[in-house]
């Protein structure tokens, strides 16, 4: 069966295929020849397991994520639900910004960010740490009059109650926004505002940890 390659991401190749008659997305984590084979096997297995686990954990918590249909550790393939109409939040932001006047684009993006914040907050209140929150890893799936946000790419995720992990997760997201969407510096504050309402009882602790993680980056002296 020939498979259609959709995209080569950093983690692996994405194909369109089917599983037991149902069309699905196949994510193949191919062997990275640059890594020591032992390290490569270890990382691939760990990430495939993490991905399947976190995606189902999210679904159980009411967060939209692709359903994992099947996982094959031998061929490094993960079979999951495919959203054919979805685009990444990265593209959505860029298109919205390009197609509209600033005052029209802003409320749309603020609404998007509030929703993203709510989702990240919900993940953290369920102790799911995504590990790679970027606008490429959030899908916008259009519905009849609106859209859903689907979280994808859980390869770096893990389960943790530690405020440190949640703080780093937020920091990764903030940095991704700053570098990818440098023309829209207001995005993160809206995410954070919505996040605070959803992230559970540790709100203050997580936020102060986040400030601490941020400070590490800023205060570090850089020599050489």
């Amino acid at each position: 069966m020939s498979l259609e390659i959709l995209k080569q991401g950093a983690e692996g190749r994405l194909y369109l295929g089917d599983f037991k008659g149902e069309s699905c997305l196949i994510k193949e984590r191919f062997v990275k020849k640059y890594r020591h084979p032992e390290l490569d096997t270890q990382i691939t297995r760990q990430r495939m397991k993490a991905e399947a686990k976190a995606a189902s954990r999210c679904l159980a918590a009411g967060i939209l994520a692709p359903k994992i249909l099947h996982s094959d550790l031998n061929t490094h393939k993960l079979y999951m639900e495919y959203f054919d109409k979805a685009t990444t939040a990265k593209l959505f932001i860029q298109r919205t910004w390009a197609a509209n006047l600033e005052e029209e684009a802003k409320p749309t993006l603020q609404e998007l960010c509030s929703r993203i914040g709510t989702i990240v907050g919900k993940m953290h209140s369920n102790h799911i740490i995504h590990g790679d929150l970027t606008t490429s890893n959030l899908l916008i799936n259009p519905t009849a009059h609106d859209y859903d946000i689907i979280v994808i790419d859980f390869g770096l995720s893990h389960y943790s109650q530690a405020t440190e992990d949640k703080g780093v997760d937020l920091y990764v997201l903030e940095r991704a926004l700053l570098s990818t969407h440098s023309q829209q510096p207001f995005l993160f504050e809206h995410i954070l505002a919505a996040y605070r309402k959803e992230c559970g009882k540790d709100e203050e602790a997580v936020l102060s940890k986040f400030e601490e993680v941020r400070a590490r980056g800023r205060k570090r002296t850089m020599i050489g």
């Binding site: 080569q8 640059y34 890594r35 920091y171 991704a176 440098s182 800023r218 850089m222 020599i223």
Partner: protein, 347 residues
């Protein structure tokens, strides 16, 4: 026609370079080398630089066969780096600027590395992996800034290597990283170490503590005593060097690949002192080939801190109209790559 002299002294290297319209005229450098097991301290490093710098300025002019009057601008490293050695460069730069009546420009050290790498390799718009003793960053250009996509959230990769070299008492001559690289070639035994990637960021401090414990089991007795008694395995220094390199370089290649996918780019440029490690270059090249991309790397003359990169970046700034009043000719230990407005690039 811009002819620039650059002074670099942010860490343990003091270097002077002269460049004229992208043509290298001189590139001289001296390194402060400490005994095995010791790092370089700010005060002693500054003393070393003070003693070497004037001789280097003279040597560079001689090599370039120029008179001070032929120069258009004097450039120096404004930061980031250690303050005492940075000051040596800044003071000499200010003095020469007044003495020779030439304009003065402070240059961001990281920008110097990036621009030098682009000049030497001819890479147009690459993802830049900047790895050295003080920095670990994945950088991409957009919108008049070099933006940091990923970086270390604690110590730099070079710092991790240097400190490990100190623990196992490797020589600092010519550099600790070079000696780790040579020793690693003698082993192919992979020891499992922590592997820490967080999104596009990496962390090395945990790996360092872990491998320090393996190298010196008695160092922190209480903490790992039980474990050490359980596993009586004897690792050689070469095994540890090999495994450390394999692990941390895999992390760096991974975050670079992530940035490439995120930015839809297929060029990578490695700069900074750790960038001349051939194993890192090899791993990065394999990754690039798998993606149909291309790797650009330079050798130790341009990878390791040098005055030329400061001269070149300064010349680019000067050409695009950047000027600096004498009152602003200070140094700063903290100076992030994305603070600089890249006025000389038009894309």
């Amino acid at each position: 026609m811009v002819c620039a002299l650059g002074i670099e002294g942010s860490a343990n290297k003091i270097g002077i370079g002269i460049i004229k319209d992208g043509k290298v005229l001189a590139n001289v450098r001296r390194t402060y080398i400490t005994p095995p097991g010791e790092g370089f301290l700010p005060k002693e490093t500054a003393k070393h630089h003070r003693e070497a710098i004037l001789g280097l300025v003279k040597a560079s002019l001689k090599e370039a066969q120029l008179e001070p009057a032929d120069l258009d601008v004097i450039c120096y490293t404004k930061g980031p780096g250690m303050a005492p050695p940075l000051l040596v460069g800044a003071i000499v730069a200010r003095t020469l600027s007044l003495l020779w009546e030439k304009p003065l420009l402070g240059v961001n050290h990281c920008i110097g590395h990036i621009e030098m790498g682009r000049l030497i390799t001819g890479a147009q718009n690459p993802i830049v992996l900047y790895v050295s003793g003080g920095n670990t960053q994945v950088i991409a250009y957009s919108n008049q800034r070099y933006r940091i996509f990923g970086e270390t959230i604690d110590i730099a990769v070079g710092n991790c290597l240097d400190r490990f070299a100190r623990i196992i008492k490797l020589s600092n001559d010519p550099s600790p990283g070079y000696n780790i690289e040579q020793l690693a070639k003698q082993s192919s035994r992979y020891i499992k170490l922590p592997y820490v990637v967080k999104g596009m960021d990496v962390s090395f401090s945990g790996i360092l503590s872990y491998i320090e414990d393996l190298a010196e089991p008695g160092r922190r007795q209480n903490k790992r005593k039980k474990q050490q008694e359980a596993e009586v395995i004897d690792y050689s220094q070469a095994d540890l060097c090999y495994s450390l390199q394999e692990t941390i370089f895999a992390m760096l290649v991974e975050i670079t690949e992530r940035a490439m996918a995120h930015c839809d780019s297929n060029e990578v440029l490695i700069v900074g002192g750790v960038g001349c490690n051939e194993r890192l270059q090899e791993m990065m090249r394999i990754m690039c080939e798998e993606r149909g991309g291309k790797l650009f790397a330079t050798d130790e003359r341009y990878c390791i801190d040098n005055g030329l990169m400061i001269a070149h970046a300064g010349a680019e700034m000067f050409r695009s109209g950047t000027r600096m009043p004498l009152e602003e000719a200070f140094v700063t230990q903290r100076f992030r790559t994305d603070e600089v407005l890249v006025s000389w690039r038009e894309d």
